[in-house]
Amino acid sequence: MNSETVKKLNVPYLLSYILAPAAVTALCFFLGYTFFHDGGAGAAILFMVPPALSVLWWALGGKMIFKGKRKKLMNELERSGFLPNHTFDSDICTVVVDVEHGKIALIFFWNPFQNYVLPASRISKIWKDDGKTGMGPLTGSSRVSFLFTVDDIRIRVNTFTSNKRWRMDSDYILTGISKADMMAGVLTEAKERSV
């Protein structure tokens, strides 16, 4: 089990994820301008391929890394005797709960090279956020999540997100609320069983 403080964000990883493709693209532009000033196949490759690869990297690279690390974490947990009673995959975080032994495992999208296996007793607070805003007929939400604090670090796990606002009685919002309520219950049970 990890005893160190949970870090949701690995700043060097985040910066290199964003800036490295931009730097490579800028370098290729410079080389293309310097050595293929009059155009040609070399210029076309240096000016078109790196930006396209960068966009692909920004769109898919992080998801692929996170997915791979999440799979690795699950395999490690299985080998270590951790019972993954309940796994919840979110866009920015995966929470795995071993209710039997009162343990949780965490891995974050922006810190995928570090995973945390903690006793659930380190959770100090568990709550839900239905994202409800607006009044009267305009009441709605675009995000539902459950939250918990580990060592006073707040961890938000989305159960539903959208770029639109949905009515509070819409199927999407109700499903998101139900998932949040369920996971809050699972975490509470694990915390109660943790020594």
């Binding site: 919840f88 866009d91 499903t175």
Partner: protein, 146 residues
């Protein structure tokens, strides 16, 4: 008049589908359906499935979050004696209900549930069962209110 009443009967679940009379509620019961959890709903039409997996509860608060529920209404027509069981499958979410489907059984398929002969059935406690859930994201075009 008879034709109009038949059309109206389509919109009244508690009307007899044979003689279009209003039926009496003979039995009502709320059940938990622990086999179905939020995000993993699948439609079942077989009465055998419900006989096997429904767990009677007295109120919605007894059903753990994220577990589906079923409301059973057993009707009997006072005119022709026809019996019909209505099963509403829904997800209880705080004060709301997300209805998934409404099923009707006209041939006493769920009599074992209504008049149980033994108490062996599904268990509300799911024990060491493993669950895998994920968030849902809905992305649309223009930002509007739906």
């Amino acid at each position: 008049m008879g034709f109009l009443r038949k059309i109206r009967a389509v919109f009244h679940e508690n009307w007899c589908n044979l003689c279009q009379s209003e039926m009496d509620v003979m039995h009502k019961q709320l059940y938990a359906l622990p086999d179905l959890t939020v995000g993993h709903y699948s439609s079942h039409e077989s009465p055998e499935y419900y006989r096997k997996h429904l767990v009677p509860v007295t109120k919605k608060a007894e059903i753990p979050a994220g577990i589906y529920a079923c409301g059973l209404h057993a009707y009997r027509c006072p005119q022709c004696g026809h019996r019909r069981v209505q099963l509403t499958v829904f997800l209880p979410v705080r004060e709301e209900e997300k209805t998934e489907e409404i099923l009707f059984f006209d041939h006493g398929e769920l009599d074992d549930l209504i008049y149980p002969r033994d108490c062996a059935g599904a268990d509300l406690n799911q024990g060491n069962r493993r669950r895998q859930d994920s968030y849902e994201s809905r992305l649309g075009g223009f930002y509007d209110y739906e």
